[in-house]
């Protein structure tokens, strides 16, 4: 072969190989890329219904498990509270089951700190203490009306000296007390946002704190765009533009503690409108005149200066309140956090009563707008569970702390709550707790309270244990939640209530059941027998299974007791409650109002050890993994600080330093600090992250209900040394350029 033909041939060979390269593989390539989940076939897994216990709202959830591992938590579609949805905290709970820092063994505090003891010994120690305590003990939980609370209450409830305390969320007690305004029993007010056209949110951060952000989210969605032709409109009044306020159509920065005044002023205008438009209400016309007389002090022109806004804005609230009926007024944390909380709540409730009257007159009222059906049934469920439904609230906490100080208790059981961390410094819980000889902490993780306890019992995660719950927050229908183990315990834990039962049995106390599971079954049986009457087609066993399948029981129909329409005379009795006392503040000499608030992710601090929640950007600040203090840019400028500069916030009770996050949506005289940061002993992720705002708070209480007035605090703010890079998701310049999306 000569050179020339060789070259020719090799050239042909080269191009032929190129052709060959692309000819064969087509089908395979397509099939390959069409398996974008990398060939993994979707596994169905098993779905179990249970109840989310991350907070006390009692949302029904379903949990997907594959090969005995919980994979995903979703809302239970038939559950009346969650309505098929779940919040961030609930879904992040799978992370806590498999958290590397979970407690795995009972630990007794000895001379050299905690020592691991076996479960048998733990039961021995507790039973011995039970015997010694002779009923002089307290049980402190997170305010859930659940099985363990019921068990403890049934064992010790009748003993003299026993105290059952629920360390419930701040503001809860006031809400309950305010809700009691019209009904004759404590209850949470339940304004029907779903069907409202116009809503005024009085400091109600319903998506962040409030009971069940999930339920409120659904209600908001329904209100806003649930109907074809109507767009629900919301107005938020409060000192900080929270993420709830962010979705509202108008934000009114009302000074702290003045929301009751605003509500009354709106009511005054509403009554005037009713009179001037001659709306036919059940309230006699002359009675309306009397109301007008009562409310005349709250004429917008008179209170506008106090509310620091033009009087026209009050009219802007009141006119649609009548025109766009049905309307609701919702009170929340900014109302209940002050010493005049209950008074303000009453004012808000009065608005709701007026709204009901207007709505009915306009034939727009929905049966669920304001009533609280089946209050009796709910109470009966509580009683059947054996829980002390009055245990919750700050009043009991004060009683407990006093008792501990006086040495009343030789023993205490603290279950799934962290009062050392989340009660205000003014309460001095930690000091009091140290005076109790023997404290048992039932917990999943080591936290500040467990560290102070004598004995730490690792409890099952709520995905692993049995319980039954009567949620605090009942939107319209009575609910009995069932919590079942959806996975086998991942680490060597025991149900806290099982241990208590075992110890009580060993101490020869009367126990309601041998185990929690048995207790739950018994309660369901009792419930079926007492509350429902026994449906013939379901035996006890089947009924229990039915509940397991559904995740609990709730009346499928709204079983209305007729809504009490207060006759004028009753309403007239109410007139004394319509007042707007001046708010009082702890540290009133200080220049700034402190506005502690819950974020959607941290809760009261439970979420702080969860990587997902820490990394999820806060809705308003978009900060991740970080603690901050919000203040108005004008305030920051006055203090001479920019974003990331540290400031020291101090009150008589303590001080914290935090990086500044200037935020336009806050009053210039308010500094807002998130709750849930600043753990000192809560695992690697949470410890040392920020500071605990609770250390600033005094022990001011609501004058009417005795609830903790957690926003009645004024503080000093001064520039401190240091700077911190703010780990924000939004760019500090870009966050003002939303117009590029032409939304």
């Amino acid at each position: 072969m000569d050179r020339r033909s060789f070259l020719k041939l090799s050239g042909v060979a080269a191009s032929a190989s190129v052709v060959g390269a692309c000819s064969r593989t087509s089908q395979n390539v397509i099939s390959f890329v069409e398996a974008p989940n990398d060939g993994a076939n979707p596994v169905d897994g098993d779905w179990f219904a249970t109840t989310c216990r991350e907070c006390n709202a009692g949302c029904g959830v379903i949990v997907r498990t594959v090969n005995g591992r919980a994979k995903k938590i979703e809302g239970n579609a038939i559950h009346p509270i969650s309505r098929g949805k779940a919040c961030a905290r609930s879904q992040a709970a799978v992370q806590t089951v498999y958290h590397p820092e979970r407690l795995t063994t009972p630990m007794l505090k000895g001379a050299g700190g905690f020592e691991s003891i076996g479960w048998d010994k733990a039961v021995d120690v507790i039973s011995q203490r039970f015997t010694e305590a002779e009923g002089k003990l307290f049980y402190l939980n997170n305010g859930a009306n659940d099985a363990s609370s019921g068990i403890v209450n049934e064992i010790f409830g009748k003993m003299d000296g026993f105290l059952n305390v629920g360390n419930s969320e701040p503001g809860f007690e006031s809400l309950v007390a305010g809700g009691a305004a019209l009904a004759d029993s404590p209850r949470l007010p339940f304004p029907d946002l779903d069907h409202a056209q116009f809503a005024i949110l009085f400091g109600a951060d319903i998506f962040e704190s409030g009971p069940s952000p999930v339920f409120w989210g659904g209600s908001f969605g329904e209100c806003r765009r649930g109907r074809a032709s109507v767009r629900g409109r919301l107005v938020y009044a409060g000192s900080r533009l929270s993420s709830t306020a962010a979705v509202c159509d108008l934000w009114l920065p009302v000074p702290p503690g003045k929301l009751g005044l605003l509500a009354l002023s709106v009511a005054q205008v509403v009554v005037d409108i009713i009179i001037s438009r001659k709306l036919a209400l059940t309230i006699p016309r002359n009675a309306l005149g009397r109301w007008s007389e009562v409310l005349k002090d709250y004429d917008p022109e008179k209170v506008a200066a106090q509310l620091e806004m033009p009087a026209e804005y009050i009219h802007k609230l009141a006119i649609p309140f009548v025109d766009e009926s049905p309307s609701v007024a919702i009170a929340g944390a900014d109302v209940t956090g002050h010493v005049n909380g209950v008074a303000a709540l009453d004012a808000v409730e009065f608005l709701n009563m007026l709204s009901y009257e207007i709505g009915r007159e306009k034939l727009r009222i929905h049966e669920r707008l304001t009533p609280e059906p089946n209050e009796g049934l709910k109470r009966r469920i509580t009683q059947a569970l054996g829980v002390d439904h009055e245990a919750q609230g700050y009043k009991r906490m004060v009683e407990l702390v006093d008792g501990m100080e006086q040495g009343k208790y030789s023993m205490g059981i603290i279950s799934h709550t962290n009062p050392v961390f989340d009660t205000p410094a003014g309460l001095k819980f930690k000091d009091a707790m140290s005076k109790v000889g023997f404290t048992v902490a039932v917990a999943n993780f080591m936290d500040e309270t467990a560290a102070e306890a004598t004995l730490v019992l690792p409890d099952h995660h709520w995905l692993e244990g049995w319980s039954v719950q009567n949620p605090n927050f009942v939107p319209g229908v009575p609910v009995l939640n069932l919590q079942q183990p959806v996975i086998r315990p991942f680490v060597d834990t025991r149900s806290g209530s099982d241990i208590i039962l075992a110890a009580a049995a060993a101490a020869k106390l009367k126990t309601p059941a041998a185990s929690t599971e048995e207790f739950v079954q018994g309660k369901v049986k009792q419930f079926r027998a007492e509350m429902l009457g026994a449906p013939a087609y379901l035996g006890d066993e089947e009924f229990f299974r039915h509940l397991l399948r559904n995740g609990g029981w709730w009346s499928s129909e709204i079983e209305n007791e007729p809504t009490p329409t207060p006759p004028d005379s009753v309403l007239w009795e109410y007139r004394d409650k319509l007042k707007a006392p001046e708010p009082e503040f702890d540290g009133a000499e200080n220049p700034f109002y402190l506005h502690p608030f819950q974020t959607v992710h941290m809760g009261r601090g439970q979420g702080a050890n969860n990587g997902w929640l820490q990394e999820a950007p806060d809705p308003i600040t978009t900060l991740m993994w970080q603690f901050w203090v919000e203040m108005n840019p004008a305030t920051a400028a006055k203090l001479g600080v920019v974003e990331g500069d540290m400031v020291k916030i101090s009150s008589a009770h303590g001080s914290i330093t935090a990086p500044v996050f200037p935020y336009k949506g806050i009053r210039p005289d308010v500094v807002a600090v998130p709750i849930g940061y600043g753990h000192t002993n809560y695992g690697k992720l949470a410890t040392g992250r920020g500071e605990n705002v609770m250390t600033l708070l005094g022990a001011k209480q609501d004058t009417d209900s005795g609830a903790h007035a957690w926003r009645a605090q004024k503080v000093k703010v001064e520039k401190a040394q240091g700077r911190m890079k703010m780990l924000r998701n939004a760019h500090p310049e870009g966050e003002y350029k939303g117009e590029v999306f032409q939304l």
């Binding site: 990398d38 076939n41 994979k71 995903k72 905290r89 590397p100 991740m624 840019p633």
Partner: protein
């Protein structure tokens, strides 16, 4: 095999004509309250890694779905807007054509698909995405024992050096289609719910087949409020948004 002529004729817009399914997602901005449940839902469903404080500081968080927050106005007339942002699954996706290895392409059901094990990490797609919704694995994602027990078996854990992004819960779509096939029927509206749509408490997110003219998404996409983000770029996203109301209805 198609002839060359046929193959030249195939254009992106034919998805809607030639396939049973064309998946679409509608996000009602009037409903979104920024609560972040979808973010965690997505994270749990798709094995999205957490990156830790240090990396977050460098803006390397991996959330496939993020909620953008914009602030408008001056105190006291401040308005905060939330905008859930995930892969928009553009019909004319800028990210797809620039990938040198076909690691991202458009599947016949109108989804923008990322094939992790083809990806070599040139990050060109990320540069060409106007929405900035593609995320890069800067390090090996850390799911140390025992956290790995949570991992969803349907979704792979991505190696370092590859791009990842929202798949509109591809595995759920497939499961939905499998179930429908087992039951011998078409996929019904509402059968398939991506994790975010499933969990959104306010019901702001709706998912469905836009080829089905009876479906919710079809009706919503044809309502007057529907917009596409960066419409002027001509990307034709499968994710559409419903505009919010006016700023100040009362004023």
């Amino acid at each position: 095999m198609r002839t060359l002529k046929e193959s030249i004729k195939v254009k992106s817009f034919n998805y809607k004509k030639h396939n049973d399914y064309s998946w679409s997602m509608i996000i009602d901005l009037d409903r979104c309250n920024g609560c972040g449940a979808c973010v965690i839902g997505c994270q749990a469903e798709n094995n999205v890694a957490t990156v830790g404080e240090e990396e977050v500081g460098k803006k390397r968080n991996m959330h496939w779905l993020r909620i953008e927050r914009y602030i408008e106005g001056e105190y006291p007339h401040v308005k905060v807007r939330f905008l859930p942002m995930m892969c928009q699954h553009c019909a004319q996706a800028p990210c797809e054509s620039v990938c040198p290895v076909y690691a991202t392409y458009h599947n016949p059901e109108g989804l923008n698909v990322q094939v992790y094990n083809r990806c070599i990490g040139t990050r060109f797609c990320g540069n060409n995405c106007p929405y900035s919704v593609r995320y890069f694995n800067w390090f090996d994602s850390s799911f140390p024992e025992p956290v790995n027990n949570q991992l969803n078996p349907d979704v792979s854990v991505r190696e370092r050096g590859v791009m990842e992004k929202c798949s509109l819960c591809m595995q759920r779509i497939r499961r939905g289609k499998d179930t429908a096939k087992d039951e011998g029927r078409e996929v019904q509206d509402g059968d398939i719910q991506p994790a975010c749509a499933q969990t959104c408490p306010t019901g702001a997110i709706t998912f469905g087949n836009i080829n089905d003219h009876e479906s919710k998404v079809y009706k919503m996409a044809h309502s007057g409020r529907a917009i596409s983000l960066f419409e002027e770029k001509g990307t034709h996203p499968a994710v559409k948004y419903l505009k919010g109301g006016t700023n100040d209805v009362i004023g």
